[in-house]
């Protein structure tokens, strides 16, 4: 299937979670806690796969991973992230979070969650870390697409 130029609001996005990295934890009440680090990317753009471009099959994303979680695009776009401030504390940028298709040679379903304007290294300390926290909560609120093995 050919990638499209934009990601629709109702599209499901898959993200792989590896075992052995303490990115999830089974609780006694059955909930699986997800670490914000499951979404951390040093390039400040978070890789996901568009479900509709991989036949809604999360095994496409699984790879060597242990489990697959999902997000809904509109939930990601609804995230209101912290602003960037200058030294005196004045707001100089407000971030909007978006999802855009970024097909790669072996994966036409590949997309990236990113900020507009783009996060830079100065945003790693605050805005990007907050975004990772929020995405973990969003993923936790949904059922796992592929349940992980217990660590």
């Amino acid at each position: 299937m050919m990638p499209e130029n934009s990601v629709d609001n109702d599209e499901i996005l898959y993200r792989r979670i590896l075992a052995g990295r303490n990115h999830y934890k089974f609780r006694n009440d059955g909930i699986i806690e997800i670490s914000s680090q499951a979404f951390y990317d040093p390039k400040l753009r978070i890789s996901v796969d568009r479900a509709k471009l991989c036949n809604n099959n999360p095994r496409h994303t699984l790879g060597n991973g242990s489990g697959v979680v999902s997000l809904v695009t509109i939930d990601v776009r609804s995230v209101v992230d912290r602003e960037r401030k200058d030294h005196p504390g004045q707001v100089i940028e407000r971030f909007k979070i978006d999802v855009e298709p970024v097909p790669v040679p072996n994966n036409s379903a590949h997309a990236e969650i990113h900020a507009i304007p783009e996060f830079t290294d100065v945003d790693k300390k605050r805005a990007f870390k907050r975004l990772c926290q929020r995405l973990a909560r969003l993923a936790e609120a949904r059922k796992w697409e592929i349940l992980p093995t217990s660590e």
Binding site: L18, S35, S36, Y40, D81, K125, R126
Partner: protein, 201 residues
Amino acid sequence: MPQVANCKSHPQKMPEDRIPSGTSKSSDELSQAVLRSIQGLHLGTGAASKLLYRAAIRIGYYYDSPGGPFSVRNFGEIVREDLLPTLNEIYNLLTWPDGWNGYNAYDPKYDAVQSASQWIVMFYLDVMALGMDWIRPNVTASGDGEVVFEWRQGIKKLTIYIGNQSAEYVEDWGPDMITEMEDGYANSSSMRRSLWKWLMS
């Protein structure tokens, strides 16, 4: 010689939990009285002795007792016993390669691991000084090679990032990223204590 067997026979009331830790004159007097009792003991290596060591840590006795019954080695052993699983997890991060998360993560950095292993001991001692219980953290890494500690208590999440220079925190207690998250540095003892009190409140 004082009896210490009661420590074992009343597991619901650990002596360390009953050590007064307030700031008033009466609390101070009580602390001193407890301290004198502890000093009179011939401590061994059993469970009761360990409880007393922890009690002493909580009232700050470890800072000024080089010649007392509590040697630095004793305290070190207690701290290590409580923190050993966490310290093992921290050092294990050095075995993670680039791309360890299945995406673009950098390998955890040696300097960050060293800093994190020192920071977690300081945090543990701060928690003991507050007279509060310790909860073992989730230990992982950020994609930038930092060491990450995470604690959850109900809806509250406390995340600590440790690089080679400093510790940063994110407090998260709800879905709103503006009004229900806080962040900053966690390098000072007062800030660490404040974070733990927030988490446990």
